[in-house]
Symmetry: C2
Subunit: 335 residues, 2 copies
């Protein structure tokens, strides 16, 4: 196996995927720091408002060499920026910084990463994908002006896949379909483990809207909140022509939530990030509009209702990972 820029960037991309969608409205970004060939850190942006991937990675890299440094206790982005600028003593001058997205160039909730890098002066910054957000872009120019070597487009395709949800919700709506099944495609009964359920609740906590089929509501009588992680319950749109529902169904009783009943799917475009939960019926109706399918696969073979119907869709696997013992697979429709 070749140990090259692609190898390092792949590790940064994989780390970023662990927080995919959970960083909304920010992009998922990963960063890896190498000092004289040694990997010092691999970190990611974890949640909007928290430190960017570069900041987490720079801090972890410094701690790798000075495990007892006071930076350990600094958690806010501002504090880490300030501390590193004042105390780096040239530590990063022989470092290479691999980052999946162009470092941000503007002061938002957190200070600009390009400015921090400019001060720390690493030997080289390797960037997989340019920023598409006009407000935050310009990071490359800042680095080049500071005479830092910049290499662009390393693993660009993989970085684009990672960035894709952000690109969609920045310019319009990102719609993803969440499904859970066994290895053999059975969707019957209680499939997922508790850690997979907690992950789904973490997604619900982040999204703008959840779309669910009317029959699923009538049959399953779900709550559709984020109680496993004590999170925010998302607003709900029930896809149904028939507007009559038993209001004792728990989802109607969750506080601080709006429930809409509609069969007008254009309403989805009023939102930035929409999660669809349902069976293949809804998948069929929405298939041209879906950006991702997030498929949770439990490693069992089970006799049960199968998700098969008349759909034929070809996918590309853009990423996959584990949640506990189960698989999570991110699929994109092949164009």
């Amino acid at each position: 196996m070749k140990i090259d820029d692609n190898f390092f960037m792949k590790l940064a991309i994989d780390e970023a995927w662990k927080y995919q969608l959970l960083t909304y409205p920010n992009p998922a970004v990963g960063c890896l720091i190498v000092k004289n060939g040694e990997i010092l850190s691999i970190e990611a942006h974890k949640e909007a408002g928290k430190a960017h991937a570069e900041v987490n990675a720079l801090k972890a890299a410094y701690l790798k060499k000075y495990p007892n440094d006071v930076i350990k206790a600094k958690n806010s982005s501002h504090d880490i920026h300030k501390y590193l600028i004042e105390n780096h003593k040239g530590f990063f001058n022989d470092c290479e910084v691999f980052v999946t997205l162009e470092p941000c160039n503007h002061e938002g909730k957190t200070p600009a990463c390009s400015n921090l890098l400019k001060e720390l002066k690493p030997k080289r910054v390797i960037i997989a994908h340019k920023d598409i957000n006009k407000e935050a872009s310009g990071g490359i120019e800042t680095l080049l002006k500071a005479k830092i070597k910049v290499d662009l487009d390393c693993m660009r395709k993989e970085a684009y896949d990672l960035l894709y949800p952000f690109i969609k919700w920045t310019s319009g709506t990102f719609i993803f379909y969440k499904m859970a099944q066994t290895l053999n495609g059975s969707i019957d009964g209680n499939i997922s483990s508790n850690s997979a359920k907690a992950y789904v609740h973490a997604l619900r906590d982040k999204i703008d809207l959840m779309l669910i089929g009317g029959n699923t509501v009538r049959n399953d009588k779900p709550t559709l909140d984020a109680r496993y992680i004590a999170g925010r319950a998302p607003d709900i749109m029930i896809y149904s022509k028939n507007r009559i529902f038993d209001t004792n169904i728990p989802l109607f009783k969750v506080a601080n939530r709006k429930v809409t009943i509609s069969n007008d799917l254009f309403k989805l475009l009023d939102y930035k990030i929409v999660m669809v939960e349902g069976v293949y019926n809804l998948l069929n109706i929405l298939k041209e509009k879906l950006d991702f399918i997030v498929l949770l696969v439990s490693p069992k073979i089970r006799n049960g209702i199968n998700a098969l119907n008349d759909i034929d869709i070809d996918f590309e696997i853009v990423h996959e990972n584990y949640i506990g013992d189960e698989k999570i697979i991110y699929l994109k429709k092949k164009s």
Copy 2:
């Protein structure tokens, strides 16, 4: 993410899995070399008779620093051993060698890896799993006698899963079930890509026996050779009570192959490595005897015959990887 011994060993284990089963009768082994924190190489044993993982990794590590060294042209294990022992000039003294299995201690088709390491004197050898083969073991003692620091059992569970086929075929029979399906469990028609088919043919080239159901033979009229890789066609056992088959079915016409028709599954135990191809019927009959299921998943949703029947089995995913755009998943029945 922590950059520690486990991180490095995981990379070595993942590299070894790329050649899982293809190294038969040898174990799949991976090796990673770190010099002052820098990863120099990640290599694996690829095929019986060819260089061991350690030898491939030591050569690649040396080449990483001296890309034009004459070692580049040396491919036989003997030549690499000899060259490194005579020319290392202390290069490996500050290296750490991560290897998924205790280095072999005996001269077989290739010289002993423990002896090579003894001469190169790395700073530390990290071993995930002790050898279980009495003839080849003793590597750790050789290293310790040479005053090389040895750490044992790093990622032992993952290394055990990697070693498991070898453990089984060394002490008896390793039986694995090969299946191909779409995402939603459809097993209908022509599912796999050409690269997945080539992989299956590479497996067929290595195994002692292929077991296949009588009805599959009657319906599909298969050839079951290894033509995609110009490999050896395996011997076949057709599982059937009824011994009457149309001898024009292509599998009977392949040269240098033995075909047995039997319903006595105890005969499988006369072989070291058996691949079963078939549908869930045979899986149900064999489920207590199977060591692995090797599941190829094509990222499509298809309307078609589903593999569902009355089987309920829980699995552990021991590894997964890509073959081209498709997934390969190694499953072990949960005990």
